[in-house]
Structure formats: C-alpha cells, structure tokens
C-alpha cells in the first residue's frame, strides 16, 4: 500500500494552473448532485440545499424545476423565488437573460442534461449553466448518471436502452463540489414499482442493474474527488500523493511474460477501480525477434485499455522509478529475469534495487516461466 509519494508538476502545468486560477476566482461555484438512477432523491437534496442556504441568508432562486417533481420536493419550494422558464414550442428552457438580469447569488437548476428547444441560444441546458457560471452566478444542479456522456455506453449496456441527452464529463469535472446521492437499490426498485421510473421490470433484474449503476456512480464521484484533491494540493504547492487511487504499472521486456502480467494488471485495476499503465524502457540492439515481441506486447496493452508509454533512460530501474513516482503509482508489476534482459545486465541485483527504490509502492514479481500461469 502506498506511502506518501511525491509528484511534481511540470512548468507548463503550473502556468496552465495560474491561468485557470484567475478564471476560477471570477466564476460562480458549481455544485452537482449525482445520482445513479431516478428516485434516489437528487432533486430533493438540491432543493433542500437551496432552502438551507436561503435560511442562512444567501440569495437563492430557482431557475428550473422539473414539472415531474414529487409532492415532497414541491414542499421544499415554498418560500423560494422562482424565475419562470421561457417556453418555446411547448418546451421549457432556463430564461437565461432573466436570470442574468436578476443576478442571484445562487441559482437552482434541475435536470442538467435536458436539451433546449430548437432555436435557443445554446442547444443544451448545461451550456446555459456555463453561461450563468461565467457571469459569476453560483449554480446547484442535479444529474443522473445515465446522462454523463462518457459513461453512456457502459450504462446502456447495463440498462439495455439508450438516452439521447448528455452532459460531457469534463463539464462535471469543473464542479467545485460533487455530492453523490447514494441509496440502496431497494429505494429505486420500490419507486419504480410505484411508477416513478416509468418502466416495468423484474425487480431482481432491476435491482442488479441499479446496483451496477450505483457502483459506476460511486467510482465516478471518487475520480472527481481524486482530481479535485490533486488540484487542491497543487494549488497550495503541496507535493503529496495519498495513494487513495490504485495505479498499477506493468513493466514489460521482451523476456517477460507480458500477456499474463497485463491481464493480471487489468484485473487488479478493475477490482480496485484503478488505472493501468504499461511501460517498457527503450534499449538499443534489440533483435528483430525481440522487437516483434515488444510490438505484440504493446498491442496487448492497448487492447487492455492501458495507458502505454515508452521510457528513455540510461538506467532502466531509475527510469521506471522516476516514472512511477511522477504518476503516483501504487503497484509495480515486473518480470523476474534470471540472466537476460536489462534487469540483470545493469548493476548487480537490479530487482533488489527496484524493490528497495519503490518507495511507497508494492512490487509484484512475475516468473518468466510460461508453463505456469499463477
């Protein structure tokens, strides 16, 4: 398990951060309630937050509430100012000019993924929200996992149906705060039975589907939190990685049992909801046969959706260790070579050197013997 390891941003990264910083300060704050299905209570939480902030003296208005909001939700609306949506072709959209004129401190927007009616300034509601944020208005909003663009393929595979609307994940990642609305699937199953979900399904199957969606939503939230944590640390010049996120680095050579190592790495990464990286260290004088093996390994790595990188360096062990420290790697997979390959060609005991040098990382050593796939 990782100890605190160090990770240094490049000068370009620092410059980008400073530029982003200025923009960030003037922008309104975005808070997103993320749920994994309808019926977990996102709208309720959003309205409740709006109500509480109002009680604490913030200037809160509602810019968009779904007509389908439950009676429980409606109760929370009491006493909150609402800027009525504009309606075009019978479809509602945020009345952006009206909100900008009113310029509240905080604005509540339900159903972030909705599309605006044709002819609107922006085709999608999240773009309206972006305009409000750019104008310095803070926004509290809610979204259902199935509308997060990059996750849609996965969600569709589970639910067996697709939705048209979507919000890019990058936009969610600009949120200052993301809060997951978690509930065990029974809630949604019960609600679905009551017609909230609007679809009839076998409760067992629906429960399974919801559970899978719940897992994805939790991991998505964890990834956003991870990114925010990193940003926070960098903004303050704290060079620290907490190792909350497992990052697996598979180091291959022409001799290593790369396909097994990559398979195991993929499984480990999936089980830990982590990342997989595959590297090899560039070396001279490879035989054509070795080059072919390496090329095959890289194909194998890409098929496993690994991040692939070729490292340069006088000393392969140092190259690997530096790369690992820079990425905040928590587990290194290497092959155990007996006589050939860089591991033994360089100074004595290269494997021992790697083990001793891999500060805060687990090192998993794989046999080269193909006959036993442990």
């Amino acid at each position: 398990m990782p100890a605190l390891t160090h990770r240094r941003p490049s000068p370009e990264e620092l410059l980008r951060q400073i530029e982003a910083e200025d923009h960030y300060r003037q922008r309104g704050k975005l808070k997103v309630f993320l749920g994994y299905a309808s019926g977990v209570g996102k709208t309720f939480r959003m309205l409740n937050e709006g109500r509480r902030r109002k009680m604490r003296g913030e200037d809160v208005v509602i810019a968009m509430i779904q007509p389908s909001a439950s009676a429980e939700d409606r109760e929370l609306l009491e006493g909150l100012e609402e800027i009525p949506p504009s309606t075009r072709l019978g479809a509602p959209a945020i009345d952006v000019p009206a909100v900008l004129r009113r310029h509240p401190g905080v604005c509540l927007v339900d159903g972030l993924a909705y599309e605006n009616p044709p002819g609107s300034k922006h085709p999608q509601r999240w773009q309206d929200v972006e305009e409000l944020l750019d104008d310095g208005i803070s926004v509290i909003t809610s979204i259902n996992l199935q509308f997060v663009k990059e996750r849609q393929q996965e969600v569709e595979a589970i639910r067996g149906r697709s939705v048209k609307e979507s919000v890019p994940e990058a936009f969610l990642r600009t949120a200052d705060e993301i809060e997951i609305v978690d509930a065990p699937p029974e809630y949604c199953v019960t609600r679905a039975a009551a017609g909230v979900e609007g679809e009839a399904a076998d409760p067992v199957q629906l429960g399974r589907q919801l559970s899978e969606l719940r897992e994805i939503a939790l991991v998505l939230a964890a990834e956003v939190v991870d990114q925010q944590l990193e940003l926070y640390l960098r903004r303050r010049g704290i060079e620290q990685v907490y190792g909350t996120h497992e990052r697996i680095l598979v180091c291959v050579t022409p001799r290593s049992n790369a396909s097994l190592m990559i398979r195991r790495g993929r499984r480990q990464a999936d089980r830990f909801h982590g990342d997989l990286h595959v590297v090899y260290v560039q070396q001279d004088g490879l035989s054509p046969a070795d080059q072919k093996v390496l090329a095959d390994n890289m194909v194998c790595a890409r098929e496993a959706s690994a991040h692939v990188e070729i490292l340069q360096g006088e000393d392969p062990i140092d190259a690997i260790l530096q790369f690992a420290a820079r990425l905040g790697i928590t587990q290194i997979f290497v092959g155990h070579s007996q006589q050939s390959g860089w591991l033994s060609r360089w100074r004595p005991n290269p494997l021992e050197r790697l083990i001793m040098g891999a500060e805060g990382m687990d090192v998993r050593i794989f046999p080269h013997d193909e006959s036993r796939h442990g």
Binding site: M1, P2, A3, L4, K31, E154, A157, I158, D176, E177, E179, I180, V181, D182, P184, S211, E212, E215, I216, L218, V219, A222, V225, Q228, L229, Y232, I238, Y242, G243, T244, H245, R266, R267, Q268, D270, R271, F272, H273, E303, A304, S305, H336, P348, N349, L351, E352, I355, M356, A358, G360, M361, D362, V363, R364, I365, F366, P367, D369, R372, G374
Partner: protein, 383 residues
C-alpha cells in the same frame, strides 16, 4: 449475507461516512423514523447525539432502550444494553458507533460483537461507522491523518452487512458545519480543523469512502450471482469478457516477528478481498530448537498470527532451518499463486550483508508471483 441457513438472522445496514459530522447518525435516525411511520417496530439501541440539535430532534417519538451503567476502575461508563434489547426483541434496532470498544468487563469487547448477537437473534440492525475504522485501511489512515486509529472493525464484519450506504458531504460543507459549531463546540472545532479536519485530509478520506462503497456494492453483486458469468461494469470497460473464468488466486502472507508484519497482513487481506482470493498467513520457526527464538520474537509472532486469525485468515506454523525454502516449498505444495512479503531492510554494504530472506524467497519462488509490500511507518496489530 442472506443464505438459506441464516434465514432467521436479522439484516445489517451500515451508514458509512468519511469523518465525524457528515450526518451518519442523522441519516440512521431519519431512516428509523421512516420505518416506524411505515409501521415497523423500531427501537434505538444506542445513539450518541454529540449535542447536535438536529440529531436530538430526530430521536423524538422513537423508543430508546436505556443504556447500561458499567463500573470500571472507579468510573462509570454507559454502554449499550444488549440483553435489554434482546429481551425487548424489536424488529429493527438502530445502533450508533459500530466501531466502539466496550469498557473492560463488558460481556463483549466490541460493539460490533454486540451487533452480531442482535443479528443472530433475528433483529435487523442499522448502524454507523467511519471509513477510518476499517481494519485493512489502518496503515493508510495513519499516513493520511497522522492519527493511529485504535477502534477498528475487521473487513469481514462489514462484509456481513446486507447494505453499505455512503453518507456523502463535500469537505467544504463539512468544514462549514464545523465552523458553525454544528459538529463540535466551537473551541473544539478550532483544534479539530488544525488536525484531522484539513481539507486535503477530508478529501482523501472521502475518496477512500467512495471507493470502499463502490467495492462493497461490487462484492454484493457477485455474491448474489449464480455460477453464470457476469459482464459487470468493469468488464464493460475492458471490452469483451474472457471466455473462461480466471483461476482462483491463493495468497500466502509471510509472518515474521518484524513490526512491518501487521501492515503486511492488512494489505494481504485487502488485496485478497478485492481479488476474491484465498488467504493464508504462515510463519517459519527454526526447526527443533525452541531456544533459537527470543521470547520477544516468539511473542510478536504469536501476536501477528492471532491478528491474522481475527481478520479471518487461516494460519500455519512451519518448521525449518531455511525459512525461505520452507515457505516456498509449502507454497508450492498448496497451490499458492502469490506470496506477500514485507520489504527487506536496506543492506548498506550488499556484499557483506547476508541476503535478506525476502530476496531469497524471490529467487526461490520462480514459479509463482511474489509481492513485496510497500513499507509503512509500522502500525502494530491491535491487541
């Protein structure tokens, strides 16, 4: 989990948070109120208000089982009255602070053991805990927070829960609550914010709690499955699923007297849980000569083996002159796929120092995988 044989036992639901003040107790009592409104027989077995007004308001109308006063060394302590709850036999019981350690002299050392008794008696339990109380994260918690958490819950206990629900709150919102004096009094809050409640610490804990909940959800999906292959979210990410199920991993943890062993056991257990692997802990004692080991060393080994058993890891004691060889032979005979070792000490002059056992094991175990686990500032196994 719900198996035919334990059809009588109650269900367990855990409200998991990442720090004090995120609203676990509130959420638990809120649910208790809802269940009561729906006509269920609900009692509160134990709750800790920490003087939080909105939490206290939620207890209204709920039956609270009076605590039991326990005397210990001239002081009196209030503990949950498990016997009284058993006698009352409610359908559902809310029990705050799952990780609590009972005062010495109580029938059971830990509150989670009391909860297990309630569940076995067929009572459904709602309970609360924070992520830092999870045993397998103990070393990481110390690194993140700088605090040694002593009240831990073995991971297998949490696995017994039918559901783990995350109580989420962004750190800044939590810090605001702290500043307003909602969580603790304002003076205590000041101190807390300098230590545990730093924004980056909270963010890291929150991320761990999110990931742990995702894992708990994941595990429960698989448990509910028959032998049919499932293409879950992970498989969907990775593309087409492999045609055949992967061979089950068998992890062997090398137990020694080294203080690094407790962390090694925690990490091994955690990896085994994530990989759904079998897990053993094995130590090798010098053959024949019982005097070869100091009293301190054999006590440390005994403590580590005991700790492993508490985490539901099967333990073995081997004898042999050559520890590395005995361990690897055992691993080979038992179909072990991965050996977990602590990182050896640095050899200042490699040629003069004897090769560390860890490196010998790496050399010998050419037919299996060896994981050398990252070093931590050593945290002891809880006694």
């Amino acid at each position: 989990m719900a198996e035919a044989s334990v059809q009588q036992s109650g269900k367990l639901k855990v409200f998991l948070g990442y720090a004090p003040g995120v609203g676990k107790t509130y959420k638990m009592l809120d649910e208790a109120q809802h269940l009561k409104q729906q006509g269920h027989d609900v009692v509160v077995g134990y709750f800790e208000s920490h003087g939080r007004q909105d939490t206290i308001a939620l207890i209204e109308g709920l039956e609270v089982i009076p605590r039991k006063r326990v005397e210990y060394r001239g002081h009196s302590f209030d503990e949950m009255d498990t016997d009284a709850i058993l006698a009352r036999r409610p359908e559902i019981c809310a029990v705050d602070e799952f990780a609590h350690t009972n005062v010495p002299g109580s029938p059971r050392a830990k509150r989670w053991e009391d909860v297990m008794v309630l569940i076995e008696a067929g009572i459904n339990v709602l309970t609360t805990m924070n992520i830092q109380h999870l045993e397998s994260l103990n070393d990481q918690m110390r690194e993140i927070t700088g605090i040694q958490v002593r009240e831990t819950i073995p991971d297998w206990v949490v696995k017994q829960a039918d559901d783990v629900v995350l109580i989420d709150l962004p750190p800044r919102a939590l810090l605001n609550r702290l500043r307003r004096g909602v969580v603790y009094g304002t003076e205590k809050a000041e101190r807390a914010m300098e230590n545990f409640f730093k924004e980056q610490t909270l963010a890291a804990l929150r991320e761990l709690a999110l990931r742990q909940t995702a894992h708990e959800v994941d595990v429960r999906q698989d448990d509910g499955l028959s032998s049919t292959l499932r293409a879950g979210p992970a498989a969907a990410r990775a593309g087409p699923a492999p045609a055949a199920p992967e061979q089950r991993e068998r992890i062997l943890i090398h137990v020694t007297e080294s203080p690094a062993t407790a962390g090694l056991i925690r990490r091994g257990r955690r990896v085994a849980d994530y990989l759904k692997a079998d897990c053993f802990a094995v130590c090798v004692l010098p053959a024949g000569d019982s005097m070869a080991l100091s009293t301190a060393a054999s006590e440390a080994i005994e403590q580590h083996l005991d700790f492993a058993r508490k985490l539901h890891i099967e333990t073995r004691v081997l004898e042999g002159q050559d520890a590395a060889k005995a361990l690897v032979d055992f691993a080979r005979r038992n179909g072990v796929t991965q050996i977990f070792l602590a990182r050896p000490l640095k050899r200042s002059i490699p040629l003069l120092w004897p090769k560390p056992t860890a490196m010998k094991i790496v050399d010998l175990a050419k037919d299996m995988q060896v994981t050398v686990v990252a070093e931590h500032r050593h945290t002891p196994a809880p006694a």
